[in-house]
């Protein structure tokens, strides 16, 4: 191994010498990893490849199957089943929401005669309302526990409601089906009842309701105030009553109030 580099081109000569030395060194270097080490490393590499293969192949195969025509059909089938279940569930939920009304009818007071739809707005709080509140699904225990108070209040107003119902029946004998339906609903529960806190106990509610003057008492008080000339107090009470019973015609109720 003896070559003479060109003397007139030192740069090329330097590179040639480098190449010669590197080649010589590569050719005559010793040192090899042992066969056992080779086998160990190759085994580890193969094992890792085999471990990675099923993991990756698994989801790739799954994706391929899903995108295949049969897979698309299966996917469409699953979607149809889901849609059917959803519709069935929704259909079952709607009768479940109406069922308490129907069930509550035998347990409630006799249904008043149908009234025209126009007159159905200021519906009284009666035994039906109390029964309705009893028959509501017990989503909240406080709602269920408040039924006693509701029933008590409904009983207090029952005579007024019965009288009003009789008047309406005389005025409008014919009633449409929606009007019937509206009678089943507690169309005008007192505002306080609706605004009762969810966590309030039945005793607290009953106490609150009994402490609040009834509509009839309030109307009597209003009449007394007007008759005694306390117009300001009467006006304030009127505003208060209108706020408490927004769907009622207070003045009309006042006129109908027996002396």
């Amino acid at each position: 191994m003896s070559t003479r580099p060109p003397a007139d081109q030192p740069h090329l000569a330097e590179e040639a010498l480098e190449a010669q030395l590197l080649t010589h060194f590569r050719q005559h270097s010793q040192g090899e990893p042992s066969a056992e080490l080779d086998a160990r490393i190759l085994a580890a590499g193969t094992a890792e490849a085999l471990r990675a293969k099923p993991a990756q192949g698994g989801w790739q195969n799954w994706l391929q199957r899903l995108l295949a025509p049969s897979g698309m059909a299966a996917l469409a089938g699953v979607a149809c089943v889901g849609l059917a279940v959803s519709l069935t569930w929704r259909t079952l939920q709607e009768p479940a929401a109406q069922m308490p009304l129907e069930v509550s009818q035998p347990m409630s007071a006799p249904i008043p005669e149908p009234v025209p739809a126009a007159a159905s707005a200021p519906a009284p709080v009666t035994e039906e309302a109390a029964a309705f509140s009893d028959s509501l699904p017990a989503a909240d225990s406080s709602m269920a526990s408040s039924s006693t108070a509701n029933r008590a209040m409904a009983k207090r107003e029952a005579p007024v409601a019965a009288q009003r119902s009789a008047e309406r029946t005389a005025a409008a004998p014919a009633a449409s089906e929606p009007a019937k339906k509206s009678l089943l609903l507690p169309a005008d529960p007192p505002v306080q009842m609706m605004a009762a806190p969810a966590g309030a106990s039945s005793e607290e509610l009953a106490k609150a309701k009994s402490s609040a003057p009834s509509l009839e008492d309030s109307l009597r008080q209003l009449r007394q105030l007007r008759e005694s000339g306390q117009q300001d107090a009467a006006a304030a009470l009127l505003v208060d009553l209108q706020q408490r019973y927004p769907q009622r015609d207070i003045e009309a109720e006042l006129l109908r109030l027996p002396r």
């Binding site: 003896s2 000569a13 030395l21 490393i41 190759l42 193969t46 490849a49």
Partner: protein
């Protein structure tokens, strides 16, 4: 059985295939780089057992990591960098001070050898012990650069990137290493030639 290296696929392609579960691709990568990497480690540390340990750690590190190599980095550079870092870690654990990160005076080790001029007729000893001794006589930084060039067949810019050194510094280290090796290995041959 180690497969025969084939130049058809690039290292990056083989690694990609291996990551996808192709065990044969790993075998081909291993066949390509096992000898150069092992000799690089052996040349740096001079101990067969330590070279084997670091060699195995390097390949297992490649096997266990899931990340692919960045496009800008050659697989070989990455592989040798792992091996180098593992060896340095091993030396640090052993409390051995390595010169690979120490600063040193390039000129001190790079004195021009008047006997190693371009005109000199080169004749190298084939004595393996003399090769190893000459290599061991090099400063660590020069030895590393020379081994990366000779065994790893890395270009200067790749060595510069791997060792985090300026390319000019790498170039000068290689030049000094070659001069010294030529002197250490060539002198007896030159003497023999002259005497003949």
């Amino acid at each position: 059985m180690i497969p025969e290296p084939s130049p058809s696929a690039s290292d990056a392609a083989l690694l990609r295939r291996y990551r996808q579960g192709d065990a044969a691709a790993f075998g081909e990568l291993y066949a390509r780089h096992r000898q150069g990497l092992f000799r690089f480690l052996l040349g740096l540390c001079g101990e067969q057992a330590l070279a084997e340990e670091v060699f195995q750690e390097t390949w297992l590190s490649l096997i266990r990591t899931d990340s692919d190599i960045r496009q800008q980095v050659q697989f070989k550079t990455w592989l040798y960098q792992i091996a180098r870092n593992r060896l340095i870690d091993h030396w640090r654990r052993q409390g051995r001070k390595t010169a690979l990160h120490d600063s040193y005076d390039e000129a001190e080790h790079g004195r021009a050898d008047p006997a190693a001029g371009p005109e000199q007729q080169l004749s190298f000893s084939r004595d393996q012990q003399r090769l190893a001794a000459a290599l061991a006589d090099l400063p660590a930084e020069q030895r590393e650069v020379f081994l990366l060039r000779a065994q790893g067949d890395l270009e200067l810019h790749e060595i510069a990137e791997l060792t985090a050194t300026a390319q000019e510094t790498v170039k000068s280290r290689l030049r000094y290493a070659l001069q010294k090796l030529r002197r250490l290995l060539g002198e007896p041959a030159t003497i023999e030639e002259k005497s003949a």
